[in-house]
Amino acid sequence: MGFSATRDASGVYLIRVEGQLIVGNRQELKTAIQEALDHGERRFVIDFSRTGYIDSSGLGALVSISKKVREQGGELRLAGLNEDLRSLFELTKLDTLFAISDTAERAVGSFAG
């Protein structure tokens, strides 16, 4: 499990979650976003198209990240949730808290609109 990050030409910071987002690695994701914020990044997409599952700590980390990004004038969007992952967001009603796009490309593109 791990994360990979890229910054596209339009200035959107895209992080892919590969494997699981759980209690054992959630801090790594929070740190990666915080460092990007510290470097001036403000537009974020987290792509879950290569993610197996997320636990409650992972969901909590996303809530925490979202608050931090907003507090610093930025915006976070989620993308690539398959049916199973999406069900976790619906169950916890976190689908009402996050902007969610079908694909990372759409999420990145939505910043331009």
Binding site: I22, V23, S56, L59, S87, L88, T92
Partner: protein, 158 residues
């Protein structure tokens, strides 16, 4: 090929031609160190040994993975306080129509009824408190022992 196990992770798998009195055909026993880095491997081992590729549908297999990961995290972090001198005992049984997973930590236990659902609008921005809520919704039955340091989760095949 199976990935190497952490040194202190102990796995025992029993496959029975004749089911036990409780109907189990496969019994898996795992002793897990109080290290959250073990969770992913333990989830993979349990699901691989308890549920063959076609025993559970994709959706229920996903639910089982998340529920086990969640219960292990609770046991390691909240129960054992990540104390490396303590371990978590995992017992899983596959029956004809259900899989049962019991996860026991060495902590003092907790009272599960004191936890409120985290889905109210004012609670959505909490960054914790969803673990037990998720477990209760992902499996068919959840029970705790009297001390509150052992959770028994049952997921039916359908």
């Amino acid at each position: 090929m199976t990935a190497p196990l952490p040194a202190s992770l102990q796995l025992c798998v029993r496959r029975r031609r004749v089911p036990t009195a409780s109907g189990a055909t496969i019994q898996v026993s795992l002793r897990v160190p109080s290290d959250v880095a073990c969770i992913e491997e333990v989830v993979d081992l349990l699901v691989r040994h308890c549920c063959g590729d076609s025993w559970l549908c994709r959706k229920r297999r996903f639910n089982l993975r998340v529920a086990i990961a969640e219960a292990l995290a609770n046991a390691i972090v909240a129960g054992n306080q990540e104390d490396r001198s303590k371990s978590v005992q995992v017992e899983a049984e596959l029956g004809a129509e259900q899989v049962r997973v019991v996860i026991t930590d060495q902590g003092t236990g907790f009272t599960p009824t004191t936890y409120a659902p985290p889905t109210l609008p004012d609670d959505l921005e909490r960054d914790n408190g969803r673990g037990l809520f998720l477990i209760r919704h992902l499996v068919d039955d959840v029970r705790f022992n009297a001390q509150g340091n052992s959770i028994c989760m049952t997921l039916r095949r359908r």
